[in-house]
């Protein structure tokens, strides 16, 4: 790789560079201006950086290149995922401005960590090599450990951080061991070269390769919080500061899925029977168990944590479907995440609106009479809940139908049936929030405190949730283009 090549490659990396620079500048800015008045300006500055990066991301749409000697790909798929991640980060920063003020922990490092974590996820979304994938993953994870424990005086936050840390390191160790086995058999860490090696006759058997594949799936399972490996995940989500929970329940999962979609259906397509089988079983138990746990929760935050786990299960159904028809399967996963992330970010945004000092506003009881206290927040929450549940006018319905249709087409009828049954069961806990809001009287009369920026952002999320349900055409087009870039 010569110098000229290096410079042109750097140009393709502009969105990531902008995010990194914003993070560095914010760090310096935070250091030289210690008064807490400036922190909201820091947040706005981070937001500006994210918007700029998103603009440059849009400009990359339509490119199809491999940069930095095949470490990263610049294609439509990466662009779609990066936009999802950037919008999530932007929303989380808006929520945090509110939340940190309420909790009285104004520290500038918070925004820097969110930015660096987003950078890691963007690298993951574009990674076509295990080296860049691993570093993106670790950058994301390390930032998230710190963010979990950010409220250093709160014991629950400490505990959440330590649990996430142990889980994360355990997952990394298993992941690296699995990667090493695959590397040993295939002789490369590059996805396309692994694909070539596996497609040779006789390349898709061998115990070492299969063990590596299983350990890779286990490692990803931990990172995506798939059921037998979810263990402490709900604890982590409950203890972390609420905006961070919103961030973690979308960002790392979406980024891991981006890697999984690049690796399993494309590079490891020769092994589709094996991973298809494992993922099918994982999807079934993930959806079912997470659903039943979500039924019993008293905290909305914890309920959303379990619902997030079950949604990963639904997305896994789409991944399983790629074993037969790659295009339909991949499209269904992308559409599913587009819908899931808008609704989930929105729901967490409403929880942040309800937050009071301490751990208030997270229980089901705190939603009592919200319809009277703040009709606007109640309406938004209803839209998001309906979308997560999958009721027709919202995007959630469409996404679920697509995933199930893909499963049926791929001859995984039983998986689709399990999915439908669970979607019906999930109505209980999603609608419970709505019932609390409209059919109970408020216990306190205090009005909600929110910044206009967050309100506008929530309106936009709700608008897209409905828009995707009513006019899905443009989003299908988006998913189709990104899948074509991948195949």
């Amino acid at each position: 790789m010569n110098t000229a090549q290096l410079w042109t490659d750097t140009l393709y990396l502009l969105p990531e560079i902008i995010i990194a620079l914003t993070g560095l500048l914010a760090l310096v800015w935070d250091f030289i201006s210690p008064e807490s008045v400036k922190k909201s300006r820091l947040a706005l500055f981070s937001l500006f950086g994210i918007m700029l990066a998103a603009v440059f991301c849009f400009m990359q749409a339509g490119l199809d290149k491999q940069i930095f000697s095949n470490l990263l790909a610049v294609d439509y798929f990466a662009v779609v995922y990066k936009i999802i991640l950037l919008v999530t980060a932007g929303m989380v920063i808006l929520m945090s401005m509110n939340y940190l003020k309420v909790q009285d922990t104004q520290r500038g490092e918070y925004y820097v960590l969110i930015l660096f974590s987003t950078l890691g996820m963007m690298v993951m979304a574009a990674a076509t090599n295990f080296i860049s994938m691993y570093l993106g993953l670790e950058l994301t994870a390390i930032s998230c450990y710190i963010l979990c424990g950010f409220m250093i005086k709160d014991k629950a936050s400490n505990e959440s951080a330590i649990k996430y840390f142990i889980l994360g390191l355990f997952a990394s160790a298993i992941l690296v061991y699995g990667i090493s086995l695959i590397y040993g058999v295939c002789g490369s860490l590059n996805f396309s070269q692994i694909q070539q090696a596996l497609s040779r006759p006789g390349g898709n058997s061998g115990v070492v390769l299969l063990t590596g594949m299983v350990m890779l799936i286990v490692g990803f399972g931990f990172k995506m919080a798939v059921v037998p490996f979810h263990m402490w995940m709900p604890d982590v989500y409950e203890g972390a500061p609420t905006p961070v929970t919103a961030f973690m329940s979308i960002g790392p999962k979406v980024a891991c899925f981006a890697v999984a979609l690049r690796f399993f259906p494309i590079a490891a397509y020769a092994l589709r029977v094996q991973w298809g089988f494992i993922f099918a079983i994982l999807a079934a138990i993930t959806i079912t168990l997470a659903n039943f746990h979500a039924l019993r929760q008293e905290s909305v935050k914890r309920m959303l944590a379990y619902s997030g786990i079950s949604h990963v299960g639904y997305a896994l159904i789409g991944l399983v479907a790629t074993t037969v028809d790659r295009q339909i399967g991949l499209m269904s996963v992308i559409v599913y995440f587009l819908v899931y992330f808008t609704a989930n970010v929105g729901a967490f945004g409403v929880i942040v609106l309800l937050c009071q000092k301490g751990r208030m506003g997270e229980k089901f009881d705190d939603f009592k009479g919200l319809g009277k206290r703040s009709p606007f927040a109640a309406m938004l929450m209803t839209i998001f809940m309906l979308s997560l549940l999958g009721i027709p006018p919202t995007g959630g319905f469409l996404a679920k139908v697509w995933v199930f249709a893909a499963a049926v087409k791929a001859d995984y009828m039983w998986l689709a049936v399990i999915g439908v049954i669970n979607a019906i069961i999930s109505a209980y806990y999603y609608l419970r929030v709505t019932v609390m809001m409209y059919m109970h009287d408020p216990e306190e009369q205090s009005s909600l405190s929110f910044t206009p920026a967050l309100a506008v952002a929530l309106y936009i999320m709700a608008f897209f949730t409905l828009y995707m349900g009513v006019f899905p055409g443009s989003f299908f087009e988006l998913a189709k283009k990104s899948v074509i870039a991948l195949l």
């Binding site: 470490l71 660096f116 250093i152 951080a161 040993g184 490369s188 070492v208 063990t211």
Partner: protein, 170 residues
């Protein structure tokens, strides 16, 4: 000859790893971990990865272990420096672990087909003069992007240490 060295170093690594898990004293466990890391570094040398062996000694045994010692000093009260030994309900993980090892061993010993393309590392090492030269060449050209990413990861770790471990007096 290389067999003898291999057996010596791997035996030291395994025995000290077992001591890490079985010892009662936290500080002893850390010292045994140092021995494991050092013998792994020796195995790296036998695999002609001399630079990595040096990194292993410097970073793992030098930096990380010192960190752990500090963490013990800062966090563990005196009477709690010994750890209770394992008891019956911990049999299950051990059985699982042993089964897992047999799975790995069987996998390795039965059949191992290399299906990729062989590289030319040996040729490069003799051409450029050694392991460190080849690694440097690659780190600063083909793998410059991960190299920069790692610098951000280290920065994040520093931020984390400052945020979590330093209390601002209010």
């Amino acid at each position: 000859m290389s067999y003898i060295f291999f057996i010596i170093f791997s035996l030291i690594a395994i025995v000290s790893a077992i001591r890490v898990v079985c010892t009662k004293q936290l500080v002893h466990a850390i010292l045994w971990l140092v021995v494991t890391f050092l013998s792994t570094a020796c195995l790296f040398v036998m695999l002609h990865a001399e630079f990595l062996a040096a990194v292993q000694v410097l970073v793992y045994t030098g930096a990380i272990i010192i960190l752990y010692v500090f963490a013990i000093m800062l966090t563990t009260p005196k009477e709690a420096k010994t750890i209770p030994q394992f008891y019956v309900r911990k049999i299950m993980p051990i059985v699982l672990g042993v089964l897992f090892f047999f799975q790995l061993a069987v996998m390795v010993l039965t059949r191992f087909d290399f299906i990729g393309k062989k590289g030319d590392l040996v040729a490069m090492m003799s051409k450029w003069g050694g392991n460190a030269e080849v690694l440097g060449k690659f780190l600063y050209t083909d793998y410059i992007l991960p190299f920069e990413l790692v610098s951000i990861i280290l920065l994040v770790a520093i931020i984390g240490a400052v945020v979590l471990a330093i209390r601002r007096s209010s």
